[in-house]
């Protein structure tokens, strides 16, 4: 699944570690989501969307 996480993070000048801290997940999890190796659970997808004040569809796109 495609996502804009890396772009959104870069816009805020956050490191992966900083984003991981804000989401309460590991840096490895953030990296795996950004590179499309891991699709987040629904609760985590909601946390990500809320953190960036967006909807889940604004962050994630399953039409790849």
């Amino acid at each position: 699944m495609n996502n804009r996480l890396k772009v959104l993070r870069a816009e805020r000048n956050w490191s992966q570690a900083e984003l991981a801290l804000r989401l309460d997940v590991s840096r490895q999890a953030v990296n795996a989501i950004e590179t499309g190796k891991h699709d987040p659970s629904l609760p985590l997808a909601f946390r990500i969307a809320r953190l960036f004040d967006l909807t889940i569809e604004d962050v994630f796109d399953d039409r790849a």
Binding site: V25, Q28, A32
Partner: protein
Amino acid sequence: MALPISTERKTDLYLAASWIGAAASVLHIIALALDWPDFVKGLGIGILLVALVTLLLRKLRDEYIERLWAAGTSAAFAVVVILFLAKPFVDGAFGFLTGAPYALDVAGMTAPLALLAFFAGFHGARLRDAR
């Protein structure tokens, strides 16, 4: 009172335990195969036990680590099934080649090989993700 540990620290601890467990698992299998002294076998098992207890603590895992755990347990389960299914064929083949009855020591082999498969699956998934 327990000190709060960050998710990052928990993950570091978990991944360290997974590497230590993998090394101890390899040490244990080599020690068994080469019949090394008992204290070496015991050392391998002791380190492995500490690592395994750490790996069983679910509160140390976030959802990505859960995914690695699932990859490891799938590999371990596959090894158990393969050993179970292969035993009659291996027994038959060795019996035919040696001309004497042969019984594969499945009970003795399953645990070390399944643990090795778990660590291979766990770290294999992690290394695939790192590419």
